[in-house]
């Protein structure tokens, strides 16, 4: 075939070509006449006041029974007495009035929103290329920084565990578009695999790690088969049930898993055969390197271990995205029927996504078991799955950087708000709502193409599919 030369450019219909940019050029025919753009009428202050007044009335109606009236146990424990707190009600209503008024005035008088220009998008993309190496550099250097405390190190390990789980789930949910609400099941399979193999057969962590991954991947395929035909909500429900099944089996198979008592005394990992015993002595890490025995050594080692595991997950995912398999996952998320028409085996493609995602969950589980030295079904409840899914959704489906930032914000933030005590969950929930309203497609919503003839340009999240299961 000789390519384009066979297809001559057709003649332009009509005289002077009309380019559809809406701007009439000299001599160009047609086009919509464009007058000076009328400024949108701004709602006056009166409107803002009226709206705020209505909000205050609604608030009054709500707060009078909720806050204004309160029953307390009377003196001497005899009966209830009714207390009124009208001052509190007045303050709350005033806050609502002022807040609503401020919002209205802001929306009326704020400067017109500038449309996002190409330049701005390019700037953001450039910042994006710096952010990832910056995070990586910080992650690598963190244990060496002088002001890093033991608490900071443990927090880092926790965050990195969730980063790894988020990246693992990102393969299933973000790339393949299969909504999985039972991801923690694979985490549990990995953790129990290591716990059982090491306590029963005395296998070392390094032997058990790949085995944990293989067992978890097997569990992923096991889950994958029955749910292949399901999509969307139905898939989510079945994966949720799968997660619960695994937890309930762990809870009730007492002879194998110890039931609710869990498995304790799980061996800690060793550094090429050197153990991290706090007491020192021959054959330990501190003895071999001539260091003062310190429990920090193990913490640092665990930190780097999970960092390497997480980076492995990231590296494999990034590589796979550029492979036919990764592209098939993303194509599956975009349109499953078209995939089938192109000869892609949809069954196998979905199963590989489940298996590979589960494998990384299993690695993370083995790490969890060796770090805690104790596993019990309590660690693998539905809320864990929900948090991991929240990390992926908050970060942006399919975005590696977004997931890492989301894990940091979510898990780190959870710790940072510890001082707020009982208000912690409130602040945490509100923060999540705000982030999702502000960025409905996650922190990083754009998608980078896996291949390009020229320059790789990020694709707007509006075009990228979210998957239908």
């Amino acid at each position: 075939m000789s390519g384009a030369s066979r297809l001559p450019e057709g003649p332009h219909v009509g005289g002077v070509p009309h380019n559809d940019d809406g701007v009439p050029e000299p001599g160009e025919m047609g086009g919509i006449p464009r007058g000076p753009e009328a400024a949108p009428p701004r709602p006056p202050v009166a409107h803002a006041l009226r709206d705020a007044g209505i909000s205050a009335l609604v608030a009054l109606g709500l707060f009078v029974p909720l806050v204004g009236l309160r029953t307390d146990v009377g003196p001497g424990g005899g009966g209830l007495i009714l207390r009124t707190r009208w001052a509190d009600v007045a303050i709350l209503v005033a806050i609502v009035f002022a807040g609503r008024l401020a919002m209205n005035l802001w929306s009326a008088y704020r400067p017109a929103k500038k449309p996002r220009t190409v330049l701005r998008t390019a700037q953001i993309a450039r910042i994006g290329t710096f952010v990832a190496p910056l995070f990586l550099g910080f992650a690598v250097l963190m244990p060496l920084l002088p002001w890093t405390t033991r608490y900071g190190l443990d927090l880092g390990v926790l965050v990195l565990t969730y980063v790894m789980l988020g990246w693992g789930l990102n393969i299933v949910v973000g790339l393949a578009g299969l909504l999985d609400l039972g991801y923690v099941a694979f985490y549990a399979v990995g953790a129990y695999t290591y716990a059982l193999l090491s306590t029963t057969y005395g296998l070392s962590f390094w032997v058990c790690l790949p085995l944990a991954g293989i067992f978890a991947a097997f569990a992923g395929v096991l889950l994958g088969f029955p749910v292949l035909r399901l999509r969307g909500d139905y898939l989510a429900i079945v994966t949720l049930a799968f997660g619960e099944i695994i937890r309930v089996v762990l809870l009730n198979w007492v002879s194998l898993t110890g039931g609710p008592n869990g498995i304790s005394g799980i061996p800690r990992p060793s550094f090429f055969g050197l153990s991290f015993s706090a007491g020192g002595g021959p054959g330990t890490f501190s003895d071999f390197f001539g260091l003062e025995p310190s429990p920090t050594h193990r913490a640092v080692f665990l930190y780097y271990l999970i960092l390497v595991l997480a980076l492995l997950t990231n590296w494999v995912t990034i590589r796979l995205r550029r492979q036919p398999l990764g592209r098939a996952w993303e194509a599956l998320r975009e349109d499953e029927i078209a995939c089938r028409a192109l000869g892609i085996n949809v069954t196998n493609t979905k199963l590989t996504a489940f298996a590979i995602g589960a494998m990384f969950g299993g690695f993370a589980g083995a790490f969890f078991a060796t770090r805690q030295a104790f596993v019990s079904p309590e660690s693998f409840t539905f809320i864990e799955s929900a948090i991991i899914l929240a990390i992926v959704v908050l970060g942006g489906l399919g975005s590696q950087l977004g997931v890492a930032i989301a894990a940091l914000v979510l898990i780190g933030g959870f710790e940072a708000f510890r001082d707020l005590e009982e208000y912690r969950m409130l602040v945490f929930g509100a923060a999540m709502v705000v982030i999702m309203v502000w960025r409905p497609r996650g922190l990083v919503s754009t998608r980078r193409p896996s291949v390009a003839l020229g320059e790789r340009r990020a694709i707007s999240g509006d075009l990228v599919g979210e998957g239908h299961g």
Binding site: R6, L7, P324, A341
Partner: protein
Amino acid sequence: MSAPSHAPRDVPILEVRELVMRFGGLTAVNHVTFNAMAGDITAVIGPNGAGKTTVFNLITGFYKPSAGEIILHGPGGQKPLHATVGHRIAQSGVARTFQNIRLFPGMTVLENLLVAQHNTLQAATGFGIAAVLGLGRYRQAEREAVALARRWLEATRLIERADDPAGALPYGAQRRLEIARAMCTNPVLLCLDEPAAGLNPRESEELAELIQLIRAEGCSILLIEHDMGVVMRISDRVVVLDHGRKIADGTPAAVRADERVIAAYLGEGDEDDAPAAPAPEGVA
């Protein structure tokens, strides 16, 4: 219309025999038999609801026929498509497009074309492991895949938009991209489901040229179309369906003169609309 020299005209590429498809009590396709000849453009026309798209879905494995046979005479010998699962049908050389365009809108134009070459590329990755490690023949295979994609992008005049997301293309370009994507699977039979729907006259014209170009490549074409101008001009053979039955089968001229076809579909006035002259010089 001058016979192209590249392929014999009397060998079928696809045989459809006594095909029946029932949905509950409704018989959408009722004992339809026709052949699509190798190297031909075979059009399937008929009023809405005649069962055209159902026939397509049966040929491409999206439905299983209630009865009847579909035989593909591909490069690997005869293949009974009625007993083959969907993705294997595509692998044996039957590509299709959809009436309502089904691209991967969040992926670039080039990525769309590489997904189409999934099976070729996957074979070169060594179960994915070699490719993840950056080993093996994968780089070479990907270069070849990009070259094939580039060729079809040039043929469909989409090369300028190769790195744009498919969802951002205008409608006509999306139609062309879907055809380019189907061609990247290296098919022997291309099934086009209303490719001219929603195109303006100039775009239809270009589409007809593209289809003829594809035929010149040696790919046979099965076409559902309502644009009679396109159908009558480019097809070698026209199959007319009505209420799930075949009511006519022959050359465009013969079909246009058929009274039953006129009554069921074309109508009296349509003859004036159809272009009087056949395709201009040089079809292939």
